[in-house]
Symmetry: C2
Subunit: 196 residues, 2 copies
């Protein structure tokens, strides 16, 4: 069993995650988190060195959760094609993301870009890792004979992720999920065109 302190820390991270994801690192403040968690400064500063430390750990928490969700999602696809389709479908409801405020990877990527080098590196690692995984799925699909070797895994993996992630931002700004449906369909059709 987790100790009290560990449970409290986890609780703070979970409470802080949507706040940081929505308001951003600069926009979020300690008092927001404390009010939401109904805790006090003494408690929070017992678990985190300060705002910077909290932000970093919140980011790590969000990235871990996201990674787990993503892995679970694509693991449900048995073929390479099914895995990619499952990945794409993961993005179908950009207005109601599992974590309030849209995709944490992109939100953090945009904010950390010129401001938080340590966090930026973490995000870069996550994106690279995601691309590698995506490429490995497609490559295996080619080796399997599932896809034609005309398919360029690196290009398709990047295109698919960039497109759905960009689409999340656009859909949220315009407050409509509609274009996402067309995009996912198009990306599926594109992959389908390489199916043997």
């Amino acid at each position: 069993m987790l100790t009290k302190a560990e449970r409290t820390k986890q609780f703070i991270l979970e409470t802080a995650a949507p706040i940081f994801n929505q308001k951003g690192i600069s926009g979020a403040n300690i008092d927001d988190v404390l009010a939401a968690a109904k805790l006090t400064k003494g408690c929070l500063y017992g678990h985190f060195e300060g705002k910077e430390d909290l932000a970093l750990q919140v980011v790590e928490h969000m990235l871990n959760t996201n990674g787990e969700k993503m892995l679970l999602t694509i693991s449900k696809g048995k073929t390479a094609k099914a895995k990619v389709f499952a990945f794409l479908d993961f993005y179908k409801d950009p207005l109601n993301t599992y974590l309030k405020g849209g995709c944490p990877i992109f939100n953090i990527a945009v904010e950390s870009d010129d401001n938080f080098p340590v966090i930026k590196e973490k995000i870069a690692g996550v994106i690279r890792q995601g691309q590698e995984l995506f490429v490995s799925v497609l490559t295996l699909g080619i080796k399997n004979g599932e896809f034609s070797d005309k398919l360029d895994p690196v290009v398709y993996a990047f295109k698919a992720v960039a497109a759905v992630e960009g689409a999340v931002v656009m859909c949220r700004a315009m407050n409509t999920a509609k274009p996402m449906a067309g995009l996912i369909k198009s990306l599926k059709a594109e992959l389908e065109s390489y199916v043997i």
Copy 2:
């Protein structure tokens, strides 16, 4: 000729733009802007009501500049295909954007999403307008006989913009422009496949 006050105001907006684009609205502060512009509070508050007003006008300034650049870019293409290609090529160097800090539309879209409803609406308008323009170019291309009517303008326009914008964020996070080249090539090839 512009009056002194008008020139100063423009100067403040131009100085503030890269600061807001890089640090975000929440992350940027008045003193940053004043230091960069080598001006003082009395001056700034003579031109703007406060930070909120400054932020809004900086955003409007960035969006206007961006819109002009974009229009100029695509106007250089004579055919529909050339216009789209010019648009795509506009994004080829995501690490060195004309405005420091990446694409202002996406940066602002991400931050304003859950925080600045007025600005969010402005961004939504810009994105919608961009999509309409893109769609109209493609539609004209079909009517011209340049493209097959198998091309779905709404889907391609959304896919292209979402992909290149998403790619800017990913490239900047990973600190490499390489994947962008492959993406642009792929989006061009995709359009090319509809050329009659």
